[in-house]
Each structure stands twice: as structure tokens, then as C-alpha cells.
Symmetry: C2
Subunit: 320 residues, 2 copies
């Protein structure tokens, strides 16, 4: 099958990559319709996690085979990315997302979705409602990641909330936060991306709000940069909540004493609830189509990655 | 001025009720455009809280006089209902909403809004954005009360949530809850009201979901009946959250041991954030117009109350 494979010398298009075979009874074979390039994919190419294999973890497709449960065959699906071992301490305590030896499709120990087909456990599948298009469904995984903010932190409707970052993930987090009625301002550095949010009625600010008065009850850090954490710390009120969405490759040098003295609550969040993401997409409450920057056929995956790695790029889709 | 006054023999229309005079510098005189009848008003008529005076606490109007701050004059406003003393232990600790000697317009110690004019403190006023109509703005107070659910309880996007009650307040709570992506089902007994929610894409169930499997992470009790609490207790999973919105006139006989054994979290909630309610109305995220059942001129206020007290009535508006 065709696939975009991360090798020692970078992402490579292969026409004859081995397709998944010998499907276990608890897995399904999914023919991929389209898939999205995420910042994590760019980091993998730069060496993050040492991954080698088929990239891609945001996708929508249709089930072609499912030996253990034929009811799935023909259904349009999206898939959760973590594959837990089921045996370790975390798995046994119900925290399968934190499985100590988990695989993650296209990220760790398991081929991903930038290919004609992908296999993954039935437990990872979510059927896509008829009213949700492929263009919407391909955003299920990043929208779920955005929903991890409100899953992990109690953001109250009366809270003043600052979101740092207007990128791909920031756009989705902003839309999720605005739905609860909170007094949200998005700070960013890209006028065109801030304009996307303004069109949805979400207040934005170009650059930092300098005013001390503007300390927020909740600050969400989604800049993707090491300096974001320090900036976020400066924006939250005493006893406020700081939600971290970026993964930091450098170690930010930060004044941890501020967390103690100001009695901050710092909350990390990673993957989120697919079911909730599909419900919001089905009800049209999150607008994802404006976030599509460009589409490439799978064959041009290398060029797609070059496009995605340009500063300010929104979502690049690969079509199979 | 004209006013609908609660007297010993019930609500009475008066043509020459004394208008507010000698306005303190920290208060405004508001000419009322329209006002809504709430279940609390019906309870007041039945004797709740022993109130006598002008009824009404849900309103929208325009500021006619504001000696302490003339910038308010001519602005369209809604108003928070609680008037704290500012001196008691609760007020000094910042919990003004729980002031031990608070007045509440149209409910306790202070005339309400079913009149040509009402006076209230500037601190209670919220300007209505231009994009929000009077028909929408008159729902600010009950929508804020609905938002008190998500203000007090952390409802997560992946939670299974059951809302008991499809009445006026239940309709607003359902819309607020659906915005966070949670797996919500509304249980009610009025097919026409459930149909209003289904049209908004919110799943409903006529009567109780009998299935044990259907235990929810969060149950919101908004039936307005004493039996609602017991029903709600039976629907929540161990360690789940039970949010109480009804005020109970009878004392429900309930098995409090279940709260202990199942480690339930029980959360009461009353008034909520006006700012968040106005933000949701401005963005069109909560649909209130379909909840308007009928409109009466103030002169026909007694007939309006009869209409409002019929079982299953939605919002009755009084127009000045």
C-alpha cells in the first residue's frame, strides 16, 4: 500500500509499504479517507520520541474488515490513538490513557494513518455520525485534545480566561472555552488567525495584554513554545488555574516559587474525549472547516510536510 | 405608576402605586420594558417567604435616572436581584450573594419589576449588548441561574449527564449543559417541551430511563418537586455529582446514607453569573425565544399569573 513513512532521513513516500495483515480478532482494518498533519508530526520528524514508521494519528476512514465484530464493516470511523497494554498498574487502575507501555498510532511503537490503510483495536473506534462530514471528522482527535482542557480543569462561566496561542490547537481550545460563557480573550501573534476567532465572536488581543488588571482566573498555555509557560504564569491571579497544553522540548527556566506563593493550580492535559468532540461537531458548535489551510494527495506527503512546517500554517490535510 | 402588587388576597393590579423617589446616589431608576414570570413568583403568591409588594425579578429596561453616574442614563439594562448589606460577615468575606440580611427585588424586602419603573443599585446593573433583543435579555436572570449549575459543579465533556425536568429552567440548563459536549439526556414528562429540546439536537427521554446501566456521572435535579431529589439520587453513579436546582417546600424524605455509602457529591446552586448569560445570548448559543408562551400587558397581570400557573406553561412575559 501507499504510505508516508518516517525514516532516518525524514518523511518518505513509499508505494509498496506492507499493508496490515493477520488482523487480530479485536482489531479492525480501516481504509483511510483523509488525515491531518499535527504539530506532533512535525516534532517527530525533528526527532521527538525517536519514532520510525508510518506517521499520522488524526484520520477519518471506513472499516473494511473486522473479524471480531462484523457490525463495524462499512462504518465511517475515527480512532483514539493510545493502545494500552491492559496489564500494567495504570491499566488495572482504569487509567489506560497513562498505560506505562502504551503504543500510540503514528507516534510510538505502531504505524499511523498516513497510508491507504491502518489497523487498530475495535476499542479505539468511534463511529462518525452521518451529519458529520469527513472534513469535520478529521478534526475529532485535535478537538478532543482541546476538550481535555475543560475535562481536566473546572472553568466556570464567570471566569476570566486568557488563552495564549492562536495556532491550530489554540483555535479549537478557544471555541471550546467560548461555549461555556466565560469571559475569554485569546492572545496571539498572527493577525489572520486572530481574525478567524473574531469572526466567531471570540475576543482577541494581538500580543500580550500588558495591564495588571487583566490577571485571569484561568490561563491556558497553548503557544507550543518554551517561553509560553513563563508568560502564562504572569497572567494568572493568585489561587488561579494554569492549564498546560504545550509540550516543551527545552526546559523552561521558571520561578516555581510563584506557584507556591500565589497558590496556583497547574494542570497538564493531553488527549481528550472523542465522544464529546463528535457531539460538538454534530451539533455544529465548533467550526473546523476554516482551519483547513491546504490539501495534498498522499503521494505529495513530503511537500505537505514542508507546507505544514511553515510558520503560521493551519491544518494541512492528506487525502488518500 | 402602574404595578402588579402582591397583597394578602393575591396579586393585584394598581394604577397609582407610588413610584420610586428620592433615588440614592448609588442607585438607578429603570423604566421596565418587559418582565418574566418565574416559578418563584408563583410560590410567592402561594405564600413563600411572606413577601408583600411589587412582584417581579426577571426584567429588561432602560435607565432613566442615575444621579451617581449619568453614563448609565439611556442604556438598556438587566439587573441582578440580590442587594447585600455590605457589612455582615458574609459580605465582608466576599460572599455578598449570601449576605445574611440581603434584600432581593420582588422577593424579599424590596419592590420588584412588574411595574412601570424599578430602582436598584448601580452595582446590580448589566448593560445589554446591542445584538441582544429585549425578548432575549429578559431571560438573562433565569439563564444565569441555569449557568449556576456549571459554575458550582465541574461537569466534564466526557461525563454522562442526566437532567431531570423539562420546565422553564430545565430548558435553559439543558442548553447550557449541551454546550460543553457532555453526553446529556433530559428526562421529562411533557412531550411538547421535550420536542423543543430535540429540535436543538438535545437527546430526551419521556419519563424515567429505567435501565440500571444508565447511571450518570452527574445528575441535575430541576423538577421543582419534592420527589425529584429521591429520583435524582437513584440515577447517579457512586462518587458522582448531584446538582440541586429545585427549592423544596416539603421536606423530601430521603435516604441520606446513600450519599455516604456511594460517596456522592451533592451541590446546591441558586443565582448565577449575568455576564456569562449575556455573552451566550449575544453569541446566539442559547435559544430563548421558543420558550415564550404568551405576552400580557401589565394591566392584565392577574390573568398572566393564572396562565403562568397552569401545569406545563413556559415563560409568560408582562409588557409595560
Amino acid at each position: 500500500m501507499r504510505a508516508l513513512v518516517l525514516k532516518d532521513d525524514g518523511p518518505t513516500f513509499e508505494r509498496d509499504y506492507p499493508a496490515p495483515d493477520q488482523l487480530p480478532r479485536d482489531e479492525a482494518l480501516v481504509r483511510v479517507h483523509q488525515a491531518g498533519i499535527c504539530n506532533t508530526d512535525l516534532e517527530l520528524v525533528r526527532g521527538y520520541a525517536g519514532f520510525r514508521g508510518v506517521l499520522g494519528h488524526e484520520f477519518v476512514g471506513v472499516v473494511e474488515a473486522s473479524p471480531g465484530d462484523t457490525a463495524w464493516v462499512g462504518r465511517r470511523v475515527v480512532g483514539e490513538i493510545n493502545i494500552p497494554c491492559g496489564l500494567c498498574e495504570m491499566c488495572r487502575s482504569g487509567l489506560t490513557m497513562h498505560c506505562l507501555s502504551r503504543a500510540a498510532i503514528g507516534i510510538r511503537g505502531r504505524d499511523g494513518a498516513f497510508a491507504d490503510s491502518i489497523s487498530l483495536p475495535l476499542a479505539n473506534l468511534h463511529a462518525v455520525p452521518d451529519g458529520v462530514s469527513d472534513d469535520q471528522a478529521v478534526f475529532t482527535e485535535p478537538l478532543a485534545a482541546a476538550l481535555s482542557v475543560t475535562s481536566r480543569a473546572h472553568v466556570r462561566p464567570e471566569d476570566r480566561v486568557i488563552l495564549l496561542g492562536d495556532g491550530k490547537l489554540g483555535q479549537l481550545i478557544a471555541q471550546v472555552l467560548a461555549l461555556n460563557g466565560c469571559d475569554l480573550t485569546v492572545e496571539g501573534h498572527h493577525p489572520d488567525k486572530l481574525a478567524l476567532l473574531e469572526r466567531l465572536g471570540i475576543p482577541t488581543h494581538h500580543g500580550e495584554i500588558g495591564d495588571e488588571e487583566a490577571l485571569a482566573d484561568v490561563v491556558v498555555e497553548a503557544t507550543g513554545t518554551a517561553s509560553g509557560f513563563v508568560a502564562a504564569q504572569g497572567r494568572v491571579r493568585p489561587r488561579g488555574t494554569l492549564v498546560l497544553k504545550s509540550t516543551y522540548h527545552d526546559l523552561p527556566s521558571t520561578d516555581l516559587t510563584k506557584i507556591v506563593v500565589d497558590e496556583l493550580r497547574v494542570v497538564g492535559s493531553r488527549c481528550g474525549p472523542f465522544g464529546a468532540a463528535l457531539r460538538l461537531l454534530e451539533r455544529g458548535l465548533v467550526k473546523v472547516e476554516p482551519l483547513i489551510e491546504a490539501r495534498y494527495p498522499l503521494e505529495e506527503g513530503v511537500a505537505a510536510f514542508q507546507c505544514a512546517s511553515q510558520r503560521g500554517a493551519l491544518k494541512i490535510l492528506l487525502e488518500m
